[in-house]
């Protein structure tokens, strides 16, 4: 299996350090389990037209220690429901990282990304080259490679398929 490169537009840039992802849907909505309803709340306070503007494959960009606090799963599930494919951030909070990688969410730890992109720039994440290319600006940034276990988890789609594959190999 090969991990497919990510290609999409930067749908939003969270410039705030230590960003609490619960704010993506709003803390009051965190317990909504219906994805259609939850995704209506997603990004509402940042850009009310967000859902209409995004396209499948688009990406979110974040600053340092993205996902700090007590991250819950619904915000990223809501974004995925809207077609968002993953997050590129300066760095990630470990709890968020572990949780989302186990859900199969592609996360790219890429120092310099916030300054390196504008909203709606087209970017490409090349896993094997370890490079994020900004296709709009013609620039590129190196990112920190995934550990082999994390890479397999993203490749297989998350913890459960990863473990199943591992157990079969064993």
């Amino acid at each position: 299996m090969v991990l497919a490169n990510l290609k999409g537009r930067v749908a939003w840039i969270f410039e705030e350090e230590n960003f609490d992802v619960d704010l993506i849907v709003g803390v009051k909505n965190i317990k909504i389990t219906d994805l259609a309803e939850l995704s209506k709340a997603a990004m509402e306070s940042y850009d009310p037209e967000f859902a209409a503007k995004v396209r499948p494959g688009d990406l979110i960009v974040g600053a340092g220690n993205f996902g700090y606090g007590h991250p819950h799963y619904p915000p990223l599930r809501a974004l995925a429901h809207l077609g968002l494919r993953g997050v590129i951030a300066e760095s990630f909070s470990p709890g968020f990282w572990r949780g989302e990688i186990s859900m199969g969410t592609p996360l790219v730890s890429c120092p310099g990304i916030v300054a390196g992109v504008n909203r709606w720039d087209e970017v490409d994440v090349d896993w094997d080259a370890g490079i994020v290319r900004n296709l709009t600006q013609g620039t590129m940034l190196a990112f920190e490679p995934l550990s082999s276990a994390d890479r397999l988890m993203v490749e297989t789609g998350g913890l459960l398929p990863y473990l199943k594959a591992q157990m079969q190999t064993a």
């Binding site: 709003g26 965190i30 606090g69 276990a149 913890l159 459960l160 199943k164």
Partner: protein
């Protein structure tokens, strides 16, 4: 080059070869610890069987299950979850500890904090076992791996060393030390690393206080925290250890990602303002904010030294009318000791509401706040919605400051009562 405590433990549990920070290893946990919680244990028990065809865990004595959330239950559904957990443990022969207190604390009391051992949980606050030289890591949902195979995949973490110097002054407590560490090094300084705390300043901090510091490690970005075992910690763990494994310490020439020295001499009580654990300030600069409730408890605080200082402050005084003070000892053992010392009667006479241990106060399942309310709390976290309405606010402070606020109904410097 010497090795860190984490490198030594992970070398032992991943086959014995010398592993170093950055290496990817398959590590065999000595202990797999969980509490029953919807979305975690119920899912794990089901997936083990349905997705992996595993009927029984290998070596059930490695596992420990706690019932400490939803205690006591408030809905039939919660009780059904507990029943499922009890049945699973009975079938599997896995030890179940129910209503003994908050699992992270009871784990230490029961010897899962064996120095040199490697423990995993889904909840990161298990890091408090690091106070005894145990490497205890919260894996979130990846804990499933520890139920379906013997080893878990792990990247050996780098270690950041914090050297504490100086002594705490009156009214300044271990959790102020932790919040101060966050203030000095920042909320991401230990990302993906082990936070190792030591130095002469630690000699003056009780084992309880060391658990507090290690238990909150995640808010520096750390995957866990450790302290080298010393005579004090070994005196606690020696009679309790569950497995025979050598206690280990970091070598003096171990390679650290960073070393910070933090002097405690002039430290004041800290307040962590909403909305996140990075928002640390001196309490003395935020006096007078009106608060309606106070929570003294949780896996971070609620141990004997916390109850003692609260009782000292509240002795012969009264909780302000209309203020809800909840004092919840962290474990049954602590509660019994507090009762025999007379602390519980002092607190109750002052107007505190007290109950047997439960995790439920910390995440707003009970003693729930409504919009506009504010609490002082020794809980783990102050993010919006943690203790009720997303429009309520949590101010994290030490146990003394909760007691002082209870008297005045506002943020108060506890030192004037000591």
């Amino acid at each position: 080059m010497g090795r860190t405590l984490a490198e030594k433990i992970l070398s032992r549990v991943s086959g014995g070869a010398d592993v170093r920070a950055g290496d990817e290893v398959m590590a065999r946990p000595d202990f797999v610890i969980v509490y029953d919680f919807p979305g975690y244990t119920d899912v794990i028990f089901r997936q083990m069987k349905e997705d992996f065809g595993i009927e029984r865990v290998n070596d059930p004595s490695r596992y420990a299950v706690f019932i400490d959330h939803m205690v006591p239950t408030a809905t039939p559904k919660e009780e059904e979850l507990h029943i499922q957990t009890r049945n699973w443990c009975a079938e599997q022969g896995v030890p179940l500890y129910e209503r003994r207190g908050i699992g992270h604390q009871v784990s230490a009391e029961l010897g899962y904090a064996t120095p040199g051992a490697f423990a995993v949980h889904f909840d990161g606050h298990i890091s408090q076992l690091g106070a005894y030289g145990t490497l205890a890591i919260g894996l979130r949902r990846n804990i499933l791996e520890a139920f379906v195979r013997e080893h878990v995949s792990l990247k050996v973490p780098h270690t950041t060393r914090i050297n504490l110097t100086g002594m705490l002054r009156k009214g300044v407590m271990a959790r102020d030390v932790f919040h101060h560490i966050v203030r000095v090094i920042g909320p991401s300084a230990c990302r993906f690393q082990v936070m190792e705390v030591g130095g002469p300043g630690l000699d003056h901090i009780s084992l309880e206080g060391r658990q507090t510091i290690c238990g909150l490690a995640m808010f520096t970005g750390a995957v866990t925290a450790v302290m080298n075992p010393d005579a004090t910690s070994l005196a606690y763990t020696d009679p309790r250890n569950r497995i025979a494994t050598p206690a280990v310490c970091s070598d003096p020439d171990a390679e650290y990602a960073a070393v910070h020295t933090i002097d405690l001499t002039d430290l004041e009580p800290i307040i962590v303002l909403p909305p996140n654990p990075a928002n640390t300030r001196n309490l003395s600069e935020h006096l007078g904010i009106e608060v309606q409730s106070g929570y003294l408890g949780s896996c971070a605080s609620g141990r004997l030294e916390d109850l003692r200082i609260a009782a000292q402050i509240l002795k012969g005084r009264r909780v302000k009318d209309g203020f809800s003070l909840h004092v919840i000892p962290t474990s049954q053992d602590i509660m019994a000791k507090a009762a025999s010392e007379g602390l519980i009667s002092t607190l109750v006479e002052a107007g505190a509401f007290t109950s047997s241990p439960s995790c439920d106060y910390c995440f707003g399942r009970i003693a729930t706040m409504t919009a506009g309310q504010k609490a002082v709390s020794t809980g783990t976290l102050n993010v919006p919605g943690r203790m009720g309405s997303p429009d309520s606010q949590i101010f994290l402070v030490n146990a003394a400051a909760v007691a002082a606020a209870a008297i005045e109904g506002k943020i108060t410097d506890p030192r004037k009562y000591l």
